[in-house]
Structure formats: C-alpha cells, structure tokens
C-alpha cells in the first residue's frame, strides 16, 4: 500500500474522531468543545466533552480497530474471505461467557475474563467440529460450524436470562445489540490493553499468515508451524473479540467488511492488511456510533444493528460473487 493511501486512512480516522467529539445530542459550538477539551468551559460542558464524548469515541475506535484486525487475520489464516469473529462464533461465545457471568452476579473485572473463556471455547468448538468434518481448510464447513456455535451461544444466553432480574435482562439485551454508550475511561484503558496485545500478536504472526495464505501444505513445506500460527491467530482473535464484547457488546460484520475494503486499496501483505484494517475498522465504528447517537434523538440506535445493516448487504454481495 502506498504512503498516500496510509495517509488517507489515517486522515479519515482523524476526521471521524473529530466529528465524533464535535457532534452529539447536545449542540455545542466548536469553540465550546475545544474549551471543554482544555478544561476551561462550563463544568457541565467539560463533563460532556471529556467524560461522555471523548471516552466514547476512543472506545468505538478501539472496538473497530480490534474487530478489523481480528477479521483480517482470521480471513488470512483460514484462507476464508468470509471469516470474522462474529461469523466464527467467537463473538457469540464471548457474549455467552459475559452474560452468564453477569446473570450469576459477577463483578466488572471478571466479566471480560468470562467473555474470553467463552470466546476461546467457541473457537475450539468451531474448529473441532470443522476438523471432525475433515474441513479445517474448507471455508464453508468452518463458517457453518461457526454459525451453529453462535446459535448455541445465543440459546445458552436465553437460558441464563430466563430467570434473571428484569434489569439484568434489559442490560443483556442492550449488550447483545452493541453500544458504546457505557464508555468510561476505565473501559477505554482496559480495552486498549486487550487491543494492543491482540494486534501485536497478529502483527508478529503477519509474515507467517502470508505464507499460510498460500495453502497449509505449501506453508508446512516452507517450514511454517501451521498449527501454531493458526492457534496464535485464534487466541489473539478470541482476545480481541472478548475485549470488544465486554466493552461494547456484539458489534458484528466490522471484521468482515473492513479487511475487504483494505484489500481493495491495494494492501497485499498481512502486515499492511491487519494495520490497515485496524485503522479502517476504527473509522467505521466511530462513524457508526456517531450515526447511532444522532440519527434518532433522544433515543440511541443500537450500534451492532447499524454495523449489521452496513455489513449484511456487503456479505450477500460477496457470497454472490463467490457463488
């Protein structure tokens, strides 16, 4: 990818972040927003800019970066252009772990860990099923296994919520629809850690993923430990899915959509596809969250529904081309 294209990606993200901080339900002039950032505006305006908008925009950016990078790596490692955390059941598994933890009365720090366990469990199950069907390399089998594992996770969530308190059910529903509304500096910091570690692992594996994309046998012939690389990608993908689900609920299709857009800009190596997908994913989710906030005030639209509305037509178009 050329330097000009990298600059374009970075500038688009910067513009989205600025728009996300400038625009909201409460009309604030650019001057007030700036003084809010600097801490010289009225206390309420400072709070709106620093405690509501800034953490929310950053959280949305981290969610998008994590999902975009995870999607790019999963697509490369499975040699399946339709792979993404949501479709492989990883997000569903993370949601299952998190919701069950909440329904059992777990406190905040335990919830992402439960999500991580659920995500890893879902990956393991998806791959076991796909392998038993002799199809780890077969895109359709892996996807189908992922969808079924996701459906199982959904059912488990419903059972966990059956006897739960009304506020737990409302909270879980809110979560399953995806939202960055609960963003706080604490959640931004913890997600930043998950995303940094997850993306770092993926970038370290990027060269190996390039080789893996040529085919498992070719990669093995070139001395790549195929199983270890695949495991690394799945663990990092699970880490990213668990972190984003714990912070903003289920935000689907970002991991599917974004890597394709990045490849369309000319990125070929996985180092640039993963980095580009992180940038473009961040831009997409920041914009989608802005839309969620301003489309139907004073109510908010669910973020996951907006990304799905964007992602599903794209997914269908890809399926048609593959067919």
């Amino acid at each position: 990818m050329t330097t000009a294209r990298w600059c374009l990606l970075a500038l688009t993200l910067a513009a989205a972040v600025v728009a996300g901080i400038m625009v909201g339900t409460l009309p604030l002039s650019p001057n007030v927003v700036l003084r809010g950032l600097l801490g010289t505006a009225a206390p309420m305006d400072i709070a709106v800019v620093r405690e509501l908008r800034l953490p929310r925009v950053l959280l949305a950016a981290l969610v998008g970066a994590g999902l975009g990078a995870a999607g790019a790596a999963l697509q490369g490692a499975t040699r399946n252009v339709l792979a993404e955390p949501y479709l492989l059941g990883v997000s569903g598994g993370a949601a299952m772990g998190a919701v069950i933890a909440v329904a059992l009365g777990a406190r905040a720090p335990l919830v992402p860990l439960a999500g991580f366990a659920g995500a890893l469990g879902a990956v393991a199950l998806t791959l076991l099923v796909a392998r038993a069907a002799g199809g780890r390399g077969d895109a359709r089998i892996v996807l189908m296994a992922g969808v079924v594992v996701g459906a199982f996770a959904n059912a488990a969530i419903m059972v966990a919520l059956a006897g739960a308190d009304a506020s737990v059910v409302r909270g879980a529903l809110w979560w399953m629809m995806g939202s960055a509304a609960d963003a706080s500096w604490v959640s931004v910091r913890s997600l930043a850690l998950y995303v940094a570690v997850g993306i770092a692992i993926l970038l370290l594996l990027a060269r190996a993923i390039d080789v893996l994309a040529l085919g498992e046998e070719t990669a093995a012939g070139m001395g790549v430990d195929v199983a270890r690389v695949a495991l690394g990608v799945y663990v990092a993908g699970a880490l990213l899915a668990a972190g984003t689900v714990a912070a903003a609920g289920l935000v689907g299709f970002v991991g599917l959509l974004v890597p394709h857009l990045v490849r369309m800009t000319g990125a070929r190596t996985h180092r640039s596809i993963i980095s580009g997908a992180a940038l473009a994913g961040a831009t997409l989710v920041v914009m989608a969250d802005l839309l969620a906030r301003i489309a139907h005030p004073p109510a908010e639209l669910p973020l996951g529904a907006i990304t799905a509305l964007l992602g599903v037509p794209f997914f269908l178009a890809r399926l048609r081309r593959l067919a």
Binding site: L26, P27, V48, E51, S167, W174
Partner: protein
Amino acid sequence: MSRLTVSWSCIVIASVLAACDRRAVPQRDTATDDFGDTIVVAAAPARIVSLNPTTTELLYAIGAGARLVGRTSYDIIPAAVTAVPDLGPGLRPNVEAVLSARPDLVILYASEDNRDAARRLRAAHVPTVAYKVDRIADFARVTLAIGRMTGDTAAARITVDTVGRTLASTLARTAALPHPRVFWFLWESPLLAVGGGSFLSEMLKVAGARNVYDSLPEPSPSVTFEDLVRRDPDIILASAATRARMLTDARWRTLRAVRERRVLVFDTTIVNGPSARVGASAVALAALLHPGAFAP
C-alpha cells in the same frame, strides 16, 4: 389490612410532628436516595428533569410541574406534561440529551441499569437522585423527599395526607365486604399478571379484594395459563380491548370468570406507578368490585 391503617396513621403523625420544625426558606440541602448516595441539592431547583412517569406525576401533584424541563417518552399524565421536552427512555437514558435540558435536578428511577447514568450526571455536576416508587409506602416516602428537595414541603405533606386518608377510609369501608379473588391481567404473550410485588396488589387489598397471585414476590410475574385456570379467579381485571377478546376466545373461556362474563374493565394508565391518583384509583376500584355495596 389493619397494618395498612396503622402505617398510614404513623405517616400522618410523623408528618404533623415534622411540620413543627418546618423551615420557611428552602436551604441547600442533602438528600440520600435509593441507591444509598447522598447528594447536595440546590435550594429550590428551577430546572427539573424527571425520568420516571410516577415521579413526574408526583411533581405536578405537589405544584412543581411548571419547573419540569424534561421527561421520558412514556410520560402522559397529566396532559400538561406533553408540552415538556421528551428526553427519551427513563431506563438507560441518553445522558447527553438529559444534559441538553440544562437541569439543576434530575430524578431517576432507582433501577440497577440507571446507576451508570446517575454517576455520569453527577460527574457533570448535576444533582441527581434515584428513587424506587414501586409500593404505596414508596409513594408517601418519595413524595415527602422530593417535596423537601423542590421546596414544596407543605404541598407534599398535604398530598401524602390526603391520599393516606382516602386509602384508610376505603380500607375501613371494604373491610366487612366479601373479598372476591381477582386476576389482574397485564400482558398476553407471555401471560403476565399483577403480582404481590406490585402496588396494584396492595390497591386490590384496599379495595376489598384478594389478588390470586399475591404470593408471588415479583411486580409482574409471568404465569402459565393452566396455573391461572387452577387458581380459578372470581373476577378478571383487564382493558376494554382485552375484555372483548377474552369473551369470545375459546381458550380464555376455559376460565369460569370469563364464561360468567365477570371480566371488569379498569383504566390501565394507572399501571405506571403509585402516584397521587392511587387514592382515587383505589376508590374507583372498590366501586367497580363492589357495585351497590360501595358508592364512591
């Protein structure tokens, strides 16, 4: 039943005692809400946002309605409230929308999913309190607390005392009447009933009836149709549309009360919560359940 009379007498006596040290001018005051948080409230707040239909109605009852600058999409009583800006949902509210009303007091419903909103509003230096207004006793407690905050102490006491006296006299008049067993219909799929945790179950007691689901602790438990048939209520309370459907529906007609056409229509807008109308509603309910024996 006598427990209700006793508690109302206590509230009236406590109110009279408290009135003796009433302050003429409201001061900057602290209040402890149902989240257990203590907050400092400005003297006589002028821009109030109420994100619970019950507290909204309460504010109008004590004369603070004109200072309301925000409400939820579900607030429809009294009619004047529809002129107040709609700030969206009352559960998990849009904090930025609430702040856009520039409030100096926000009253939330004390549900677990509102804790975060309370924290954010307070971080934006907006005094925010959260109250649970689920039971009749909550009505008296919260009316007095809100009256103290808005500087409408006297009006709040009058409201509480009047409603209390109405409830106590209704209870006394229905005590000797036969108590029919009532199923109060809330929703069809899933089938939801008024449960023992709801103020409506308390209102049924005052009006001289027994709720067939009084033993269930939830306010609106989900019940099975067979269980309802087993409990065999004498009377069913429902909306006019539901009544019409029940009377012609084969499944509903398995219930004796439906076959004998003892499905009574009661104004369902009361389902919002126990507000200032709870006394008048109890009287209306008693008159509906005991026609002839109880004239309002």
